[in-house]
Symmetry: C2
Subunit: 113 residues, 2 copies
């Protein structure tokens, strides 16, 4: 086993939490799931649809997203938007991500002390 074999798992772990942050950030402008998938992909965050759709439902259950049905097209689609609670969650997660980044930068410079 080389380090490359375990890279996907480690990348996946690293990205699991960031999909939440990215979704809350992007959905401050309302959008349906497929559009979000494209927006995240364009930004360089490739999330699988089978991961993203359950995530969106979970965030809605947690009150972090609200949704309404867009019925302007032939097939109704659920349009999500980050709620006020979701904004607070986003702030908290962004703060934490920045703290982790600072910590890792410190560790990368200094090593163990």
């Amino acid at each position: 086993m080389t380090w490359n074999d375990t890279l996907p798992t480690h990348l996946q772990e690293l990205r699991r939490g960031t999909a939440v942050v990215a979704s809350l950030a992007a959905l401050r402008s309302p959008g349906h799931g497929y559009r979000l998938l494209q927006t995240l992909g364009d930004a360089g965050i490739n999330v699988d649809a089978n991961t993203l759709y359950p995530l969106l439902r979970r965030l809605e259950d947690q009150g972090l997203l609200t949704s309404e049905w867009d019925t302007t097209e032939s097939r109704p689609r659920k349009v999500y938007r980050t709620s006020a609670d979701g904004e607070q969650m986003l702030d908290a997660l962004l703060t934490d991500l920045e703290a982790v980044r600072t910590a890792i930068a410190t560790l990368t410079d200094r090593g163990i002390s």
Copy 2:
């Protein structure tokens, strides 16, 4: 349920992957588990010992850390160090973390497009 109730879970997800990055960064200077725990804590990354010790064994199994026994004290202690493969993994994860950061910054500015 308020957003605060789900914050710990989201923070935990966000931090799961970063513990690997932080450990690989810190252990470029060799150290045993307890010392690493302190170093990470000092840097603001609070990892539970029950999470960190299995993680270190897993990273060693994956060839990302090497270890040797420090027998200079009464109780032998395993001293870990980031391997050459671990350095490559660290580089890859840091690159990814930076890409995610850039993506999230873009999304935070722009919202969905």
